[in-house]
Subunit: 400 residues, 2 copies
Amino acid sequence: MTSLALAQRSLADPSVRHPLWPPLTRGCPVTSTEDVAYPLDIDYDYDRVPADLFKGPAAHGLERWAPLLPPLAAPGLGEGNTPLVELPDGVWIKDESRNPTWSHKDRLNRVAVSAAVASGARGVVVSSSGNHGAAAAAYAARAGLPCAVFTSPYAPPAVASHLRAYGATVLTVPYESVRPLMRRIVDELGFQSVSSVTDTAHTGHPFGPEGYKTIAYEIALDLGRAPAEVHLPCGYGELLFGVAKGFQELARLGVTDSVPRVYAVEPAAAGALTEALRTGRPVARVPVGPTTAYAIDCEINSYRGVLAVRTTGGGARAVTDDQMASARAELAAQGIWCETSSAAGLAGLRAQGPRETGGPVVCVVTSSGYKDVATAKETFAPTAPDWDPIKEALTSTRPS
Amino acid sequence: MTSLALAQRSLADPSVRHPLWPPLTRGCPVTSTEDVAYPLDIDYDYDRVPADLFKGPAAHGLERWAPLLPPLAAPGLGEGNTPLVELPDGVWIKDESRNPTWSHKDRLNRVAVSAAVASGARGVVVSSSGNHGAAAAAYAARAGLPCAVFTSPYAPPAVASHLRAYGATVLTVPYESVRPLMRRIVDELGFQSVSSVTDTAHTGHPFGPEGYKTIAYEIALDLGRAPAEVHLPCGYGELLFGVAKGFQELARLGVTDSVPRVYAVEPAAAGALTEALRTGRPVARVPVGPTTAYAIDCEINSYRGVLAVRTTGGGARAVTDDQMASARAELAAQGIWCETSSAAGLAGLRAQGPRETGGPVVCVVTSSGYKDVATAKETFAPTAPDWDPIKEALTSTRPS
């Protein structure tokens, strides 16, 4: 199956189209303004999608969905095909920690690193708090490309080990130097950026969110229908956009009858998308306060997030660290250990309280508990081999 | 689909059969001797296996294979259905880090915790260096049972966080107190042990290795045939046994034409199975030297491992820490970051050098790099934002 990708088009005005190559990683050169760089989207020859594409079983590797993705020139790692796990109250958890580097970012990077390979890039560069960097490093390594990861000196120690394991060059320069250096690596060394290099809004890699569409395809295949609602952790909003687009494609192709309402859940310490929607602007910039949800504490939103919420009739809401910690504990008590940021989707759902949704509800859990800041900072006090306190601990504790 | 499990039978003499319930977690009461406790195995009504069981697609959750497993009374987490990832030389990696708690142990614990639930146990107790404990804790939490995990005070800090996340009671008593306390928890509190409580040989939970059979089923489904060889990290040998049994069942049921040779790879610092096979004994005890392969540095083997190697015409070999580190680096350069112990299978294969195998070769990678001792001990030195050293790093490095 070959890709049916046709062109890049501006998300500010879809009638403004550009050739598929090269990927316009700095936003649309036509519709962007001095204030806002608008990201690009990929258009496909939808009339030629094979009739049986959504009939067969799920399978590992994004090549399962090749017609509706840009060309997959980089070798895969069997990404995607993650399970839906049901909570006792019927809410479905899409467990994205079951990917090759244990986060949803593998889907994006299979596609974005493929774009780098197909366009003859000399390497891949990324700025990331952790998950994105690890995934980019893994796919770059597998494709034989060098990878530069700009990350925070405050990254959790386990994440530091992870980034380095794939042979990436890990760079912890001061924040204000990150994007200028990224652009220099792109311009002078011929690398391709798989994260945003623009200063005016988040544009990201135009091909990247296409990988997230496969989350929607898998959910619809598993449920046999589109859910009524999907709740997702929201940083820049690329995941949100990709999942919404995937469901919109399914409805357009007649595979499902409806499109779920897509809800963005941001940490209360940030909340750029909430602010953009509130003020009716394409992009908002907000101060970022302290939060343990380090994977999604973004000072700016992508216009993609605005579109995902608006076109699906969903919404954006902010949750506190306590609400995320509570959702994280609820998930762990069901055997799903995720990072705090990853629990934001469920935290947002729980904040709404019980109500009629009109169909299945899915929360996307994006990454593993191993990536949290507090992980690996615990210590064990040796236990004394005394029966009474052990008996007491085991007979007074009931996890649920 | 209901379970076709019929009985427990002694691995020392399969004609010695016991009812399916209760699970005989201390070995066979008939065939065990003063020197060796023999583990039990599960027999099925193979004539009643549905003809189409191996025809449908793979799916998440061991219920996919319910007829050939003991009853799955504990709720699942979509375990199993992990991908095969191909290395450049054609060797297949079965990536078991793609399970709910990111190791193969989820398959064992779905089955063993189910046995605890079905037999009315008041809780679950386990002794583990990490992976087994995390999986037991996750499945116990999901089933609403308390869980006691005996582990080493030297467990990696990230693993400590992981064990505690599911609400388990983590106990780090001195080594010599572990098994006596486990037996007391079983006898006095009505918990069921999902790891070995016997002093004379490793018996484990009789139902547990059944979960590992599904690795063989999935490999055969993906390859469309049985591989020629499977190379696995070997601690006690339960994984080895389960995978071998799964392939033997496939051949018995006419699904495949052959059974792969199963190779146990042990750390050179231990090597009980190698010693047992060399001396022709059912069980050997060996001194354990220092090794980073902490997940498989066992002082004693299970008789299961002897059977897996003998009945498949495979072998056991020991690899050094350097050989495992080299295999781990080979995997990371292909985007697969595993713990040192998990790279043992590939290390064993590489130690053999190139040769004709007569068919596909599979190495099982059991767990994620997040679980290694060295992980999270790295620190970042801040990078100066100077162009020349960054350029130098990115243009001199080629990962492969």
